[in-house]
Symmetry: C2
Subunit: 320 residues, 2 copies
C-alpha cells in the first residue's frame, strides 16, 4: 500500500527548498538549506538528509514517505543524473537520484525544474484534468514542461521540452548561455526583459522612468514597476516580450495542439502587461484551425509551494 | 479474436488507393479509384465499397477484415471527420469514418495522411521499435507525424503535428495556402523547391540548365535532374531547401527530443542532395546536448505501398 506522504525538493543554485506533502497536495511542512555552501556533493546530501529527517520527525512522517521527487536544473528523469547545470558547484554528471535514494533509503526520482512544475500543474494546478498542455516557465531562463496524452514528454533521452532554446531570431539574435544566438529565453525570460530594457533605452529617445536608474542594473521588476506607474516605454518592453512569446506559442501549437498553455514563474506576475500581447500575437500568428481552441492562462499554483509540490508529485510515481 | 486482415485506404485529391494488408504488413492485393469524379460523397463511398468488396472477394477476405484505416487530407482521428481539405470536392466537414463504417459494416478509423505515414513507419518501417520519432513528409506540402512514448500525438483536438506550418521566416516570408506567410512548407515542399528555383533564376545571374526550361512550369523533379547533371544552381537550390529544413528540425528537437527524424515523400528521393544540407544545418543549429543523439534518415517504406500500409495499421486499432 502506498504510504501517506511524499517529499518534494526544489533544488536551485542558491537554495534548496523541501517539504512533506500529503496525497491531497497539502504541504504539511517545509524548510530549506543553502545549496552552494558545500564544495562536495556528499556534504550537501548529508545536510539535506539531516534537515529532511528533522522535518519528518517533527511531523510524525518517519517511515511514512512513499518517495522523494526532486526538481533540479538539467535533471534527467531517465538517468537520474544532473548533467551540465551551470549554476551548481559540483562536477557533472551528478548521480543525484542514486545518492539520495541510498542516503535516505527512500526511492528518489528527479526531473528538471520546468518538468517538475508541469507535473505539479497537472496534479494540483490549472491543468488538472488536462491530457495535453504545455507549461512555460518564465524565470531567469525560459523552461517548459510538455504533457501529451496525459504523460510528461521526456523524449528518448530525457531532455525533451527545451522550448526556451527554440530559435526565434535567425539572424542578429541575442547571445544565449547555451552558446547559440536568438533563443526564446534571451527575449522572454526575466533576464531577457532586462536586456530589452537596456536595448530600448539605448536605441529610443523618449523619456522614461527607467532612465533614472542605473541602466546596467535594471531588472524585470524595475520594468514592471515603471509600467505600473504608467511609463510608456516600460509597457512597450512588455509588448515586445509578450509578442515574441505569443509568436513562439503559435508555432508550439502546430506541434502538439495542447488544450492550454500555462504560464508560470516570476514574469507571470506581470499579469495583463504580458498576457495581452501574448494572446494578440498568438491569435495573429497561429494556423487558423487552432485560432479559437486554446487557453492561455497563468499558473494557479501558490508561488512558494509550486516547486515543492511539483517535485513531490514525482514521489508518487515510485514503485513499492 | 482479431481477424487476419485490415484494409488501408490512401485518399488523395486525385486518386484513392486501397489494399488488403495482413498482420505481417504484406499488401496482399491493392487497387484504386478516382476520387474527384463524384460530385456527391455518397456516390464516392458507393464506388469505394464496390471496388473494395470486389478485392476482398477475389482474395478470400470477405468477413476476415478487422478494421479499415484511412489516411485523408485533414482527416481528424478523434472526430472521424475530414475538415476543410482544399483538394477534396465535397462540402466540409465530411463524416468519413461514419460513412465508411456504416457502408462496409466494418469499423473505420481515419487520420491525416502524414500521421498515417507515421503509424506505418512505426509499424513496418524505419521507426520500428522506436518510441519517440518524428516523421516529416515532403510532398506537395510538408506534413508531419509525431510519436511520443510510442503513441501518435493527435493533440487535444486531433490536429497536432502540423509542422509544415511552423513559421520559419517571420518577415518577408512566402505566402502559404493556409493564409499566413513564411510557413516551412512554402520552402521545403516539392512546390517550395520549384518556388526557390524561380526566385533563384530571377535574382541570380549564373548560367543554369534550368534557364533552358519554361520557368513558370519548373518542378522539383526538373531541379533534381539538373542537379544530378551537375548544375551548380540546382545544387544550391537543394542546399537552400535542406538548410531551412535542418534549422527547423533543430527546433523540433527541443520539443520532443526524438530518437530519429524520418524523411518521407517525393523529395526524399533526392538523397544526399537534400540530406547533406539538412544534417549540416541541424548540427549547426541544434542545442549542444542534442548534437550527437539523433538519427536523420529516409523512410524505409516502399513508396507505392507506404500510404496504404500506414493507413492500414490504424485498422488494427479498432476494438472488436
Amino acid at each position: 500500500m502506498a504510504k501517506p506522504y511524499v517529499i518534494g525538493v526544489d533544488m536551485g543554485g542558491t537554495n534548496t527548498a523541501f517539504g512533506i506533502v500529503d496525497a491531497r497536495g497539502n504541504v504539511v511542512a517545509s524548510s530549506s538549506i543553502k545549496t552552494a555552501k558545500h564544495s562536495k556533493i556528499e556534504d550537501y546530501i548529508d545536510e539535506l538528509y539531516q534537515a529532511v529527517y528533522r522535518l519528518m520527525e517533527d511531523n510524525d512522517a518517519v517511515g511514512k514517505v512513499q518517495g522523494i521527487g526532486i526538481g533540479a536544473p538539467n535533471g534527467n528523469y531517465y538517468t537520474g543524473r544532473v548533467e551540465g547545470a551551470p549554476n551548481l558547484p559540483w562536477p557533472s554528471p551528478i548521480p543525484l537520484a542514486e545518492l539520495v535514494t541510498n542516503k535516505f533509503g527512500i526511492p528518489c526520482i528527479i526531473t528538471n525544474d520546468a518538468n517538475a512544475a508541469g507535473v505539479g500543474e497537472m496534479t494540483y494546478g490549472a491543468a488538472r484534468g488536462m491530457k495535453d498542455f504545455i507549461m512555460i516557465t518564465l524565470g531567469t531562463g525560459v523552461g517548459s514542461g510538455i504533457v501529451v496524452n496525459g504523460q510528461m514528454v521526456y523524449g528518448h533521452d530525457g531532455f525533451a521540452g527545451e522550448l526556451g532554446h527554440v530559435i526565434v531570431k535567425r539572424s542578429n539574435g541575442r547571445q544565449c548561455g547555451c552558446g547559440r544566438t536568438g533563443c526564446l529565453e534571451t527575449y522572454c525570460s526575466a533576464t531577457g526583459v532586462a536586456r530589452t530594457a537596456r536595448e530600448f533605452l539605448e536605441i529610443r529617445k523618449e523619456d522614461s522612468l527607467l532612465r533614472k536608474m542605473d541602466i546596467a542594473a535594471i531588472t524585470s521588476k524595475d520594468v514592471f514597476d515603471a509600467a505600473i506607474a504608467g511609463d510608456q516605454l516600460a509597457k512597450e518592453i512588455f509588448d515586445y516580450t509578450g509578442t515574441i512569446l505569443g509568436e513562439a506559442l503559435a508555432d508550439f501549437m502546430a506541434f502538439s495542439s495542447p488544450e492550454a498553455f500555462v504560464i508560470f514563474g516570476g514574469l507571470a506576475k506581470s499579469g495583463d502587461l504580458i498576457m495581452k500581447p501574448i494572446k494578440e500575437a498568438f491569435r495573429k500568428n497561429v494556423l487558423p484551425i487552432f485560432r479559437d481552441g486554446v487557453k492561455i492562462v497563468f499558473s494557479e499554483m501558490k508561488e512558494a509551494d509550486a516547486a515543492i509540490l511539483g517535485a513531490s508529485a514525482l514521489g508518487w510515481e515510485v514503485k513499492d
